[in-house]
């Protein structure tokens, strides 16, 4: 009989959500006797929260948000644990218009930056700041979809955001990609991990096989998505009729290229992490987010549910 | 023994007023025989409505006793029917449903209301017919004129065949012509059914035309200052109100009230 899995996305149904919607639609989860329901989300923080409260069994969230939760809620029962890496490099980036004259991170000193308070790029900015020796900056807070508008209008000098989100949003506001100066965190000495698949502690204890099965099916799905983004977007379009298929396809490809199928990912293996890098990130996040306690990387990450390395070898050799 | 017996009744509306000695009515002594029709007249605010509340049991006296039908009054009585200055019909019920309201509340009708509904409704319709509201039974109160509403209100007060009918200025808001019509209706009903009536009014002609005994109340604190038996023969016709005998009684009562108003002194009973 099937195991029901309630899955919480980090964001709305956009291109990258194909990684989860496709195996639902194409039956990879069904084949593993899983009945997976995927719900749209509104931020990694909320996704972590909802898995922690037991409302959802598993979810997709930024690893730094998960670390922050662990550090700030050491006594919480059912703390979520990361079981698989998806965005091996954080998609966080700083965007500035070329015409503003901001070329390097150092130019950001004294400038006005816009982002929601919960944005991963904004929260991790101290790490970026330290790595690039940037002076003080001023922050302006706003809802996520507003930041690109504000940048386009010139109300802020730069924004932080996910590379594949903000770049395309800026385009929708009439800013061409070549007019934007993008400073991706991984390219500027901030090799944080990005989004991971998380699962509640209790769910892990009760259904370890289901989690393993989930990750296996997910891996198969991911292979399909990477091989054929167009078909993957068709699945997303079915779920949310208003999306612009071409735009989301581009978004998905950007996500794959910048965060999923990266050189680092190929080196570490899809879905896995490198322990030293994880430990470094834990200490950086604890500093940057000013958490209550330090972060124990082993409590946050549990790689024992991963499929075999062979199964995870999904990147087409080029 | 009298049917209604007020024995040294005082009422203050609340504890504060009681403590200050502000009574709405003071030292009321009054006896009404079975089947007697009495009227109470007096200036505005003298305590007429207060007297009615005591007689129905809506208020308990601060001092003294009210005995009705041989029993001391301790709460609302089911043997009374009451009609107020405003018709107070429930606007969401048809006229006949309004008239039937007491039957839904008062025993023995209440417990048999569901079974005998048809019978009770026939009774209500007959009563409405008798006050000239035939054909209006299924209209809503707001579709009737003020006089018609008042008639329906009196029917409601009578439907459960109370032994005593209490009327607090029931004709106050009507025009003179409608009012005189209703006087005759009330006179005939009382003649037929012989229930007790206590009528509160401003109108001296009304009180003299209808009542066996008229009481005059003085202004605050309310006391009964004059008791006048009306010895006009019954049945009385409306024409009687234009006879000198009638006019004289009205004039006499008018004199008592005028004296009270001018000097503010009490006139011995």
């Amino acid at each position: 009989q099937e195991t029901a899995v309630k899955f919480q996305l980090d964001w709305r149904f956009e291109g990258p959500s194909a990684f989860f919607l496709l195996p639902v639609a194409q039956g990879q989860f069904k084949a593993e006797k899983l009945n997976v329901t995927v719900d749209a989300g509104n931020g990694s923080g909320n996704a972590v929260n909802r898995v922690a409260s037991g409302t959802y069994d598993m979810g997709f969230a930024d690893l730094s948000a998960l670390m922050e939760f662990h550090a700030n809620n050491p006594t919480a029962p059912n703390k979520p644990v990361a079981v698989m890496m998806v965005y091996n490099n954080t998609p966080a980036a700083v965007f500035a218009l070329k015409k503003s004259g901001i070329k390097t991170p150092a130019d950001l000193a004294g400038k006005k930056l816009g982002a929601p308070v919960f944005d991963a790029g904004r929260r991790a900015f101290p790490i970026f700041q330290k790595a690039n020796a940037i002076g003080k900056v001023e922050w302006v807070s706003m809802d996520p979809p507003l930041r690109e508008t504000m940048l386009a209008k010139g109300d802020v000098d730069a924004i932080t955001g996910f590379y594949f989100t903000s770049l395309l949003n800026l385009e929708a506001r009439g800013i061409k990609a070549e007019d934007v100066n993008v400073m991706m965190y991984p390219a500027h000495g901030v090799k944080l991990y990005g989004n991971v698949i998380i699962a509640g502690e209790e769910f892990l204890k009760k259904n370890p096989e289901a989690v393993k099965a989930f990750l296996r099916a997910f891996t198969k799905g991911a292979k399909e998505v990477i091989a054929n983004p167009k078909a993957a977007i068709a699945v997303v379009k079915e779920r949310d009729g208003i999306i612009n298929a071409d735009l989301e396809e581009r978004r998905l490809k950007l996500a794959i290229d910048s965060s999923v199928a990266t050189t680092d990912a190929k080196a570490e293996g899809f879905g896995d992490v490198s322990k030293p890098r994880l430990a470094l990130m834990a200490s950086q996040v604890a500093d940057a987010f000013q958490t209550k306690g330090r972060i124990n990387p082993d409590a946050v990450w549990n790689g024992s549910f991963l499929p075999t390395a062979a199964e995870r070898n999904i990147f087409a050799k080029k | 023994m009298a049917f209604v017996d007020f024995n040294g009744v005082w009422l203050a509306y609340n504890d504060e007023l009681l403590a200050q000695g502000h009574y709405a009515v003071e030292d009321i002594h009054l006896q009404v025989d079975e089947g007697e029709f009495i009227a109470i007249v007096g200036p505005s605010g003298c305590g007429k409505s207060t007297f009615m509340k005591l007689a129905t049991g809506l208020k308990r006296p601060s001092q003294g006793t009210v005995i009705i039908g041989g029993k001391e009054v301790t709460g609302p009585l089911k043997i009374t029917g009451m009609a107020f200055q405003a018709p107070s019909l429930l606007p969401w019920r048809t006229t006949v449903a309004n008239v039937m309201l007491p039957l839904e509340i008062v025993e023995p009708y209440r417990s048999s209301f569901k079974q005998k509904k048809a019978e009770y409704e026939a009774k209500a319709r007959a009563l409405l017919q008798s006050v000239g509201l035939g054909g209006y039974e299924d209209k809503f109160p707001w579709q009737l004129s003020g006089g018609m509403q008042q008639r329906a209100s009196i029917c409601r007060a009578l439907i459960h065949e109370p032994k005593m009918l209490l009327l607090d200025e029931p004709f106050g808001a009507l025009d003179a012509f409608t009012r005189e019509e209703l006087w005759c209706t009330l006179r005939d009903l009382q003649a037929a059914q012989k229930f007790n009536v206590i009528l509160v009014t401003h109108d001296l002609r009304e009180s003299v035309f209808l009542a066996d005994t008229v009481y005059v109340m003085s202004k605050s604190p309310g006391r009964m200052v004059v008791r006048r038996e009306i010895d006009l023969p019954r049945p009385r016709d409306l024409e009687i109100t234009y006879t000198p005998a009638f006019t004289d009684i009205v004039h006499e009562l008018r004199g008592h009230i005028g004296a009270m108003r001018k000097q503010g002194v009490e006139i011995a009973q």
């Binding site: 949310d240 208003i242 | 809506l58 107070s88």
Partner: protein, 255 residues
């Protein structure tokens, strides 16, 4: 005759006028869609996505109705509780005001933790935002009961319960129906706000999703649809109000 029909048409005339002015401004100053879409553009998007919008609108509609149904039940019961005693009225009223002044949007994350993404939080937000006017109106209807109407029954030795059911309940009906038309528009706001934060479906989701994709024409089309639904329900409840409690409206005027 002409005057009357002119009056009946006047809201439409005004609507057309507003749309013309709006379109005029948008065309004249060439306002770009992402700053403020023109009516023509909204209409275009409405037609293009009509199937999708209809699906989301239907979801929002029934979710709102579900929340509203709970609001009616809870609102009426609470209203009765509060209105039937002076003490309860003074005790509850200030706290209810305070609660009413909280942005219900702030509760959505908490509701999601309890009920997950989907209809749960939306139904509950619709309920939380709309029960207040119902409760207040029922309570006010009972609290302002004319003592004369009450005395009519008390004189007959009626119990408290008799008075409540025979007088209190029917007397508060016009207040109740009056509140429904206000509450239903609030319920739509509640559902939409909740869907904006936590849903895969509904007009609220459409707003956010279209907004973040900068399809402002579509987002405004969604807004127009909620507005229209709310207006239709308002008219519906005000029709019900007129037809169920005619006595309250004709009470004063004799024929």
């Amino acid at each position: 005759m002409t005057r009357k029909s002119l009056e009946a048409w006047s809201p439409w005339v005004l609507l057309v006028l507003i749309l013309l002015v709006w379109q005029g401004i948008c065309s004249a100053f060439n306002v770009s869609e992402f700053i403020f879409p023109s009516p023509a553009r909204i209409w275009e998007q409405l037609l293009e996505y009509k199937a999708v919008i209809a699906g989301h609108a239907w979801r929002t509609f029934w979710v709102t109705m579900a929340g509203f149904a709970i609001a009616i039940v809870v609102g009426v019961l609470l209203g009765f509780l509060i209105g039937s005693s002076r003490m309860a009225y003074t005790a509850f009223y200030p706290l209810m005001t305070g609660f009413n002044a909280l942005p219900k949007a702030a509760f959505v994350p908490v509701l999601v933790v309890w009920f997950g993404i989907g209809i749960g939080p939306a139904i509950l937000t619709a309920f939380l935002i709309s029960f207040f006017p119902i409760t207040v109106n029922i309570a006010t209807g009972l609290a302002t009961l004319e003592p004369e109407l009450e005395d009519v029954l008390r004189v007959l030795g009626a119990s408290r319960w008799d008075v409540l059911t025979k007088v209190g309940l029917p007397r508060s009906m016009p207040y109740f129906f009056g509140s429904l038309k206000v509450a239903i528009t609030l319920a739509f706001v509640g559902t939409t706000v909740s869907e904006m934060q936590a849903s895969n479906e509904g007009i609220g989701y459409l707003l956010v999703s279209a907004g973040s994709a900068m399809q402002m024409g579509l987002a405004f089309a969604g807004l127009v649809v909620v507005g229209a639904m709310a207006m239709a329900m308002y008219e519906f409840f005000s029709w019900i109000e007129k037809h169920t409690t005619a006595w309250a409206h004709r009470g004063s005027q004799s024929h």
